[in-house]
Symmetry: C2
Subunit: 231 residues, 2 copies
Amino acid sequence: MTKRNEQLTGDPAALVGWEPRRVAAVAPELPAGAAPPGTRGQILRTALGLFSEFGFHGTSIRLIASNVGINPATLYAHYSSKEQILADLVLLGHQELYDRLRRALGSADPSAPARLAALVRQHALIHTDYPLLAVVANSELHVLSAENAATALELRARCRGFLVDVLADGARSGEFRLVDLTLTAIAIGGLSMQIAHWFAPGNRYTPDQVADVYVRLALRMAGDTSHRKEN
Amino acid sequence: MTKRNEQLTGDPAALVGWEPRRVAAVAPELPAGAAPPGTRGQILRTALGLFSEFGFHGTSIRLIASNVGINPATLYAHYSSKEQILADLVLLGHQELYDRLRRALGSADPSAPARLAALVRQHALIHTDYPLLAVVANSELHVLSAENAATALELRARCRGFLVDVLADGARSGEFRLVDLTLTAIAIGGLSMQIAHWFAPGNRYTPDQVADVYVRLALRMAGDTSHRKEN
DNA sequence: GTCTATAGCGGGATAGAC
DNA sequence: GTCTATCCCGCTATAGAC
């Protein structure tokens, strides 16, 4: 039995989707340096775990406070409202994504396939590293007021711009054969987002393995002409 | 300017993601024959529209009732609880998906690429035809009790089985060159789900155009060896 | 089936002592 | 910063008349 055949006989149902949870049960972590210190950070991490599982409207101030181990009133010494906690999380998640993608483009080879691979790799890795943050940032953003969502939406637009630019460059140069620019960008942009819903440290894929697979899938979707055999 | 260049110069940001809505603003429709008649059906459709935009916990009984034009108490003559309304919607959405995929497989050519294309086409079309139902069935299922979610989860497992079987068959026969069975199945299975978040009738893609693109993307992801040039 | 009225509870947020 | 105590509101759901 080769490794390839092992993959073919593995049971996908064992990995994903059998349970009605929104995310795998992983510890709520925030990017190093991004989390505020002390109680404020503890509130943020606790809210992250609860929002990711029950949603913003399904999580009460009282529940957050009790999980932190403080009184509900104490929470308002650190955040002005429940929405402000979510706003901080959503912004933080989008900033981390934008920073990673920008750095990835900065250090990638200039060819379109190399830049696309770098973007997709980082997009996959942010979802394995911070799955709860990714779920909250993506699926609870819509409950924020327009003002609280504005900065995150601008960062998101820039990230989408990175992807569209790389795909368009590759199409012009002949490195890619796109089926359709807009829909391919949407599809590749959404590809890694599902990772947050099933990935957990210690399952049968490492983050790097997941990222490798997703990079190859994205290159196939873009119609990469440079390394077709390897894809 | 060729059509291909139009695609390349079209602005993707004009289509998707600039707004913090969960779904495009489309009328809340249910599959013909699946919706109950009279007030009961009206409640179901109204709840569908509200759940899709604000989520289950973000939607109150009072809001549903006022949008239907009835008293909140009247609602309980038709449904035993708010959760029961959601349970009906989630089940209905999963049944429609399962029925479509089963019919698609029944009428498809026996080759693996033809069956994969049929599955992906129907998966895409159900998201263009019933985007609100798809969003609710997918992203609010987790608030249901285990009993209320059980049937939908079983249907979902069968649908995933369809996809995994087709990919595994194609890999064995050499029609597909898979990067990884499990992750490809997850990726293709999630591919069309995003459609529900941006598609609206009357935008620049028809449902058939969307489905065509997604079928080609999926065949590329599977490493289809039979029609490589067309993909 | 639909209404009025309301029970009973839990929600977000605040006042003020320490 | 953290607590106790509480305000006030909106929530799901029910009782009972019509």
